[in-house]
Symmetry: C2
Subunit: 241 residues, 2 copies
């Protein structure tokens, strides 16, 4: 439990004492399972819970009235999900599992409890929320100002970095359960164009997205092509200025 992906992630920011970690593991108790095909919670719901993702991938998304959707976050093990749905009167987004998911349910009183005794943990949470925000900001920048190819490449690189932090994947690549349709809804593109861009990246010798796996052939080249800089993930070891 003390080595949950979530604790592992927080440790990238603060050095947590044993008692801090105990409080974290308290939050990590109420385990639940979810299968793809059914939302974990949905927009408009008033009694939604938050979750700490232990295994599997999920995505948060927003449905527009014209039937299209925009995925706003891809969640991997260690990620916190649904914070807005417990703090807000009513959830403003949906979350659905991409793979079978194991996650711990967190209610607002759990947060109160955790923060009351350990303000340092409140800061750690604020950091995690801020890191999620930074990820969101980079996606925003991608949608606003990057070409489709840079956007796709950037996203694949970001996932590599995030997975590495929780011990998944390696230098050569990582397992990725996303379909090209999911990529399209994430990156504000059509599935057809995602397919063309993936071919382009493959033919340029940068990376491959096939059979549920992302494989990098030319990491430095891809970094340069996408103008990728991992600073926004703030991964460089515990510091707590």
């Amino acid at each position: 439990m003390l080595d949950s992906p979530f604790a592992r992630k927080l440790k990238a920011f603060v050095t947590l004492s044993d008692s801090d970690l105990n409080v974290v593991s308290t939050l990590d108790k109420r385990k639940r399972h979810f299968a793809p095909g059914r939302d974990m919670f949905h927009a408009g719901q008033t009694d939604a819970s938050a979750f700490i993702l232990a295994t599997g991938w999920a995505c948060g998304y927003i449905l527009l009235t014209d039937g299209t959707r925009q995925i706003t976050a891809i969640k991997v093990p260690g990620d916190f999900l649904g914070l807005r749905s417990i703090l807000f009167r009513t959830s403003d987004h949906n979350v659905e599992p991409i793979t079978p998911v194991e996650a711990s349910e967190v209610r607002i009183n759990d947060l109160f409890g955790a923060f009351a005794g350990t303000p340092r943990l409140a800061i750690a949470f604020l950091w995690a929320a801020s890191r999620d925000e930074a990820i969101l900001v980079e996606h925003l920048v991608g949608l606003g100002r990057r070409s489709a190819a840079q956007r796709v490449g950037h996203f694949l690189l970001e996932l590599a970095a995030r997975l590495k932090l929780v011990g998944l994947g390696d230098k050569t690549g990582y397992d990725c359960p996303m379909s090209q349709y999911l990529l399209a809804d994430t990156l504000g593109l059509s599935a057809v164009h995602v397919n063309r861009v993936l071919r382009e990246l493959r033919e340029a010798g940068y990376a491959t997205f096939q059979l549920g796996r992302v494989t990098f052939q030319d990491l430095p080249g891809l970094f340069a092509f996408c103008d990728f800089n991992a600073n926004y993930l703030d991964h460089d070891g515990p510091l707590l200025k």
Copy 2:
């Protein structure tokens, strides 16, 4: 001080006791002034402060290597700005004043101090950060899936709602110090196209963006046209579930 825009905003989420408000006003002490033309802090800076905006508008942005930029947040009075720049080792974004700005400087130890005594305030901060995230998410959705016209309209409506919460603007509209260039960098469009879209909205009888003021001619129509739903701003009175 107890009626600062910031306190006013937090009260939309939690009922704050007098002692809570005292702690908030403690944060609101170190007033500083900034003029347009010079960043309040910039990406890469390691000793950046955060600020609570008291008067004036500012924007957060990210510069790409090709010289383009994407504005990631427009900040109005009552908004907190630079949270990521104090929690992260190094700031991942820049902030510049749009108008002359008056703002209170906040350092990480101020936050620690505030949270230690009043966990309820930690939750309120988390709420404020989550609301900023919700705003970011809506911009993301706009960039990914909305037409230029809907995107512009949606943004103008969002600003109206946010300003109203801190007592600015009225039913007819609000003062808006943004140039069309700023709008373009915010909405991922070219300035030329922003101009065309504004004309379109004007000619459709929805709203007007001129001489530093946004004026609504047909609010219900614009709501419908943009598919605007203010739930994501979570403005409906203090509740703290």
